[in-house]
């Protein structure tokens, strides 16, 4: 019977297949860890006197609670939040004690855990990747089965390199057509979430397919897969192709020489076979999409930027969300004043994201009263951006240019949006309080964020397209 890509990857990693009584024992090729969800897992190992089974398949970095101010990362200035500083130290101690490679605070390869996997070339087609972070789905852009796990499962993988897992169902998202200028991968994935809903993918692994997906570069594919979890999905995958191989070819930790050729042979067998059945399927047309923006308190509360906030009668949860956001049903979002613009996160802080925002900001200033934070996804992204002068574009426009990290997406390090403030953010979650207590988040693409920063109002980026 023809197989889906997910089924092939799953079967290749079954150490013990599932039965009615027990889940499958699934082998994990790459375990990424960070400071926030690992300390209790290491403690579980210590309680039992266990070792890390495969330090060679484990990589640690720090990103969630790390500072983004240069003087705090490199200058020896104290980290603002004491508990965060302690958590960072704890990861250093644990990695040293258990022999796990750590890309620490001042390491030139450090970055958001989901950005460095691809950069280093350790995220590879056909592999399994887990991390104690829900946005692990990002890695699925390479045809990798990648999903977020809890801390107890982090301990399971540290100790055994395996996880107990029930096989999820499959869900094909077929996207035909071509995205118009000014409409990005972020807009596409927000539209997908808007269509299937924030729990539309529960229990499923998504496979994004179709011409619109094939046309995306790797950065864009990662943006799409990153937000699979916002549709409730276990993971999201895109079949590897020439775009994938070209991206990986010169990455530092990919197989070399003959091993590369053998890997390529394996990877080419991964895509879903013709006639394979998915448990669910939907079809969409990328050609009809506009730039998207969220108006509520979950990523499914999303609309075209030219639209109006929908009206829903007798829905107290909907009313509560709009009350939190300080918005009214039926009103447009466009031209609403903005206080903060955040360009960053594992969703949209890769080099191409910074380039697209810089294209809007070049030679322009951000509006008076708007605070804009630009946080590259990794130190590598930061260096590459600086090499082509993007840092100057942002700084000259009046934005704050920082060291890499999760920053204002999760607000654990003190990079916060104020109470009642509106933030146009390229991150992935507009939950209540996500960017700070009382913060009001409008999720959008880097283009929309940059356009909104210039105007100081929610702005359709197509106003800035030249030609």
């Amino acid at each position: 019977m023809p197989k889906t890509m997910f089924e092939k990857v799953w079967e290749q990693h079954e150490v013990v297949p599932e039965t009615a009584d027990t889940p499958a024992v699934l082998f994990i090729d790459l375990h990424l860890i960070h400071e926030v969800t690992s300390p209790q897992a290491f403690a579980m190992l210590k309680e039992r006197g266990l070792k890390v089974r495969r330090p060679d398949l484990t990589l640690a970095t720090m990103d969630h609670s790390t500072p983004t101010k240069t003087e705090q990362v490199f200058g020896g200035a104290p980290i603002t939040i004491e508990a965060a500083a302690k958590q960072i130290q704890r990861l250093e101690q644990n990695c040293a004690e258990f022999g796990v490679e750590l890309l620490g605070l001042q390491n030139s390869l450090r970055g958001i855990v989901h950005i460095i996997g691809a950069e280093l070339g350790i995220t590879q087609p056909g592999g399994t990747v887990v991390c104690g972070d829900s946005h692990t789905s990002t890695h699925g852009a390479f045809g990798t089965l990648a999903f977020g796990i809890g801390t107890t499962e982090v301990a399971h993988v540290l100790a055994t390199q395996c996880l107990l897992q029930r096989k999820p169902q499959t869900f094909a998202i077929n996207v035909a057509g071509t995205l118009h200028a000014g409409v990005t991968a972020k807009d596409l994935v927000l539209a997908i979430i808007g269509k299937i809903g924030v729990s539309g993918g529960t229990g499923h692994v998504l496979e994004y397919r179709g011409d619109a997906i094939r046309a995306l570069d790797m950065d864009q594919r990662m943006t799409v897969c990153n937000m699979s979890i916002e549709a409730g999905a276990r993971a999201g995958m895109i079949a590897p192709d020439e775009t994938t191989y070209a991206y990986l070819q010169d990455k530092p930790r990919v197989p070399q020489g003959e091993q590369w050729e053998r890997a390529l042979e394996r990877w080419k067998k991964l895509p879903t076979e013709a006639g394979a059945r998915f448990d669910r399927e939907i079809a969409m047309d990328a050609s009809v999409l506009e730039p998207m923006i969220t108006y509520g308190t979950n990523p499914g509360m999303v609309m075209p930027i030219t639209g109006s906030i929908p009206n829903r009668k007798d829905d107290p949860v909907f009313d509560k969300a709009l009350a939190y956001m300080g918005l009214e049903a039926g009103a447009p979002l466009q031209d609403r004043p903005v206080n903060v613009v955040f360009l960053g996160s594992c969703t949209n802080a890769r080099l191409s994201d910074l380039r697209s925002a810089a294209a809007v900001l070049r030679g322009r200033k951000i509006a008076k009263g708007v605070r804009m934070l630009v946080v590259p996804g990794s130190q590598e992204v930061k260096r590459a951006a600086e090499a082509e002068g993007l840092d100057r574009v942002f700084i000259d426009a009046g934005a704050d240019w920082r060291e890499s990290g999760c920053s204002m997406c999760i607000g654990m390090n003190g990079d916060l949006v104020g109470r009642g403030e509106y933030s146009v953010s390229t991150s992935n979650r507009n939950f209540e309080g996500r960017q700070g207590i009382g913060a009001r988040t409008l999720l959008a693409s880097p283009l929309t964020a940059a356009a909104s920063a210039v105007r100081g109002r929610v702005t359709d980026p197509r106003e800035f397209l030249t030609g």
Partner: protein, 191 residues
């Protein structure tokens, strides 16, 4: 872990849908390096005013919430972040089960690993529970039934192995460690 078989409790109802783990335990409390003590920060931004005083109207601050072990929430409970701090906080507060029409995947897994029972019920049962906050329910994990005070018994499903572990106090890591030989074989074949 202590085995779980049957328990009775009154319910607390939070009717919101899509209650995400950022609401259950906001990210600023994730700088902790232990599993204990998160109960006082459970639903922090819904529960406390800016000055730290409790919001008297919020359901967990009301006297009738004291001692309740069952939380009834709207559809897609526990969505968002994979933070296991969410079930840790709920358990530390005193909850032993979450009832909803849908529970997010990662939160459900994390809950089962910590002895917090995810109980998924049909719309009609959920509506009844929402309409009758404080109802005394009985949850029987052995029979996987939820018994309402109306004597109606609602079946629910729990993944077979998780149920076995919870009923017998068996630890999943111990089971996985018992598969070392198979893991070793797998590694050798792939090398």
């Amino acid at each position: 872990m202590e085995p779980i078989k049957t328990f009775r409790s009154r319910t607390v109802v939070l009717p919101s849908t899509n209650i995400d783990t950022d609401q259950i335990i906001p990210a600023r409390f994730l700088t902790t390096t232990t599993r204990q003590g998160l109960g006082k920060q459970l639903f922090s931004d819904w529960r406390y005013n800016a000055d730290g005083s409790p919001k008297p109207d919020f359901v967990l601050n009301r006297p009738e919430a004291v001692g309740c072990q069952v939380l009834v929430g709207g559809k897609n409970f526990g969505c968002g972040s994979s933070r296991e701090h969410a079930p840790w906080a709920l358990i530390d507060f005193g909850f032993r089960a979450i009832i909803s029409t849908e529970i997010a995947d990662i939160f459900r897994n994390n809950s089962l690993k910590n002895g917090l029972l995810p109980v998924v019920v049909d719309d009609a049962t959920s509506r009844w529970l929402m309409d009758n906050p404080g109802a005394e329910v009985e949850i029987d994990l052995d029979r996987t039934t939820l018994r309402l005070p109306t004597a109606v018994e609602v079946p629910f499903t729990v993944e077979a192995f998780a149920r076995y572990c919870l009923l017998n106090g068996v630890d999943e890591l111990g089971f996985l460690l018992g598969k070392q030989a198979e893991i070793h074989d797998y590694e050798r074949k792939r090398a």
